[in-house]
């Protein structure tokens, strides 16, 4: 019998969430743009927003408290209820 060890890992397995279906296009869709407050992320989102708008999408901007912390649950709810699509600006 092998030694009985206490694992430092949390062995619970989280079921992988299946990806939502990918949209065929953005025209007529509402897209939430999440600025995580990383340096110059807003510039990236500005460009993306212009492209989305040109493609016929409606956009909404939301902002995290700080890039280094997970988004607040309220913000996640706001994103989930605010549009069918999300774009997140990550880094500088």
């Amino acid at each position: 019998m092998a030694a009985d060890y206490v694992s430092p890992f949390d062995e619970r397995v989280r079921a992988a969430e299946p990806l939502a279906p990918r949209p065929a296009g953005v025209a007529g869709r509402r897209v939430v743009l999440l600025d995580i407050r990383k340096n110059r992320g807003a510039e990236f989102l500005d460009r993306v927003e212009a492209l989305l708008t040109a493609g016929g999408a409606a956009t909404a901007r939301v902002t995290k408290e700080i890039f280094s912390k997970p988004a607040a649950l309220g913000l996640i709810d706001e994103i989930a209820s605010g549009g069918g699509l999300v774009v997140e600006a990550l880094a500088d």
Binding site: A3, Y5, V6, S7, P8, D10, E11, R12, V13, S68
Partner: protein, 521 residues
């Protein structure tokens, strides 16, 4: 396409009923064939941790599991290894399907009469074996998936045509003589220190195996099931038993455990923002400062070599905290720990303050605790920079030298810093301030006032919006406030070397203190 069905060499199960699975998984619900085939079909992938062909199969098939699940094919990797090994191996190889494990004598593998791992078995909703592939055979796997797709009436992605297209498997442990299996897995049959590396229970250095007996001794009767919270970034739950396992791995004595537990509680305070520190590209480590009577009680060194090697309590307490972050929290370098360079303090960094040699109130008193209490304070910080000054003859000169040493902390031009720079003042330097009657606050304010530059000199390279917005002649301070200068006293009696530890920046991370549990007063 004809599946290459020969799981045991004679095709005994082909087309026949698939045996029920005697395996265990992490959830509370039992793994059953009806459950696995409820969506349409199940793909049972029998594997073993030490088998390279099993690893190949898991890596090639793992990314496809989610799409299969959508179409009604449930994939499960069934390991001939302990469950924790199975989960870790699956995670490491990118397997995204379900995971199950079996212990000796490997009843599921025996029921399926396996000779080889990997073996992939397709089971239909009718509970019959629809086909199988032994070893790695990309074409045969594609054929097996074709059979599943035909049954489901849906397309299923197949592994890419990348070499090796075929690879022989390894012996199933179920196909090895039971006596031999027992000998292979017996205590002392292997090298338990090497096993820790194989399990990934390490920071890269050898560790003490966390046997149930050692962890129980570490817990000292405490409730191992008590939860201290979730450890980011992977949000593993820091049960007291896991914290104790990390303390054992680190080499702690049970007497250190109250300090480790207090430090764990401190780093898990959301105000500390361990999440950001654990995954950042910065070199941030978690500095653990210990104050109070517990220092002497457990042999923490605050004297000669206070920031260096040689003292078990200092080295192992800091290491236990880091193991909690990297193992329970999943922040292993190169995985979720994305530090560009890192620093040796990320192995663990625990400093005890020399309160008796200090001219000032110790850190924990400054932070509102009674002097006689034992307290752990955690600070996100960079590696120490040594500051040599043997020639200053006034407190002003010495304070100036100490202050300017931090001018390059984080960056030469990113001023002002809101986050703390931690100074460890050596006794000889402290003595100069004591003799001159300088309070800690006076020193802090002098240092704050000393380090300033005109904004125009800070405009090269990366600098702050505040510098860009300032008039070129405006003096910009290194720190946003005197409170960003933290002062400790530690070190040997001889030698005029203090040190400064730069900050972890941009995290909104606060210094957090927790009192050390005291048993029986």
């Amino acid at each position: 396409m004809e599946p290459a069905w020969r799981a045991d060499g004679d095709g005994g199960l082909g087309g026949g009923p698939a045996p029920e699975l005697d395996v265990h998984a992490t959830g509370t619900a039992a793994v059953t064939l009806p459950g696995l085939t409820a969506g349409g079909c199940a793909l049972l992938v029998f594997v073993s941790e030490h088998c390279p062909t099993s690893a190949l199969a898991l890596r090639r098939l793992g990314p496809l599991c989610a799409a299969w699940a959508h179409a009604g094919l449930t994939a499960i990797a069934i390991f001939e290894d302990p469950l924790d090994v199975a989960i870790r191996t699956a995670r490491r190889l990118g397997w995204t399907g379900q995971v199950a494990a079996q212990e000796p004598p490997y009843p599921a593998s025996r029921a399926y009469r396996l000779a080889t791992v990997p073996t992939a078995v397709l089971v239909g909703r009718d509970g019959l074996v629809a086909g199988a592939v032994v070893g790695w055979d990309r074409r045969a796997v594609a054929g097996l998936l074709g059979e599943a797709a035909a049954r489901l009436g849906a397309g299923l992605p197949v592994p890419p045509e990348e070499g090796p297209l075929t690879k022989p498997g390894c012996s199933s442990k179920a196909a090895i003589d039971p006596d031999l299996v027992a000998a292979m897995s017996a205590d002392g049959g292997g090298d338990d220190l090497e096993e820790m590396f194989e399990r990934g229970w390490t920071d890269g250095l050898p560790v003490i195996p966390p046997t149930a007996e050692r962890v129980a001794a570490m817990l000292g009767g405490r409730d191992g099931g008590e939860s201290l919270g979730l450890v980011p970034p992977a949000m593993g739950e820091a049960t007291l038993a896991r914290v104790a396992a990390c303390a054992v791995l680190a080499g702690c004595r049970p007497a250190y455990f109250p300090v480790v537990a207090a430090a764990a509680r401190a780093v898990l305070d959301p105000a500390f923002n361990l999440h950001g520190q654990a995954v950042t590209t910065q070199p941030a480590g978690q500095l653990v400062v210990v104050n109070g009577p517990v220092r002497e009680a457990i042999g923490l060194n605050s004297g000669m070599g206070a920031l260096g090697p040689g003292f078990r309590a200092n080295l192992t307490i800091g290491r236990a905290v880091r193991l909690l972050v990297s193992l329970t929290g999943g922040a292993m370098p190169g995985a979720m720990d994305r530090a560009t360079l890192g620093q040796m303090g990320k192995l663990g960094f625990c400093v005890a303050e020399d309160e008796e040699g200090s001219p000032w109130e110790p850190l924990h008193v400054e932070r509102g605790f009674a002097a006689g209490r034992s307290v752990v304070t955690v600070i996100g910080s960079d590696a120490p920079l040594s500051i040599s000054d043997h020639r200053s003859r006034t407190p002003e000169d010495l304070a100036y030298v100490l202050a300017w040493a931090a001018a390059s902390a984080w960056s030469t031009n990113w001023w002002p810093l809101a986050e703390p720079s931690v100074y460890v003042i050596c006794p000889e330097h402290a003595q100069m301030f004591r003799a001159a009657g300088w309070t800690k606050q006076r020193l802090r304010e002098f240092m704050f006032d000393a380090v300033r530059k005109p904004a125009r000199l800070l405009l090269r390279g990366e600098t702050t919006p505040a510098v860009h917005a300032a008039d070129p002649g405006t003096l910009v301070p290194k720190w946003a406030s005197p409170e960003a200068i933290v002062l400790l006293v530690a070190g040997g009696e001889a030698g005029r070397y203090s040190a400064v530890l730069g900050p972890c920046t941009g995290m909104g991370s606060r210094i957090v203190s927790r009192e050390v549990e005291s048993r029986g007063g």
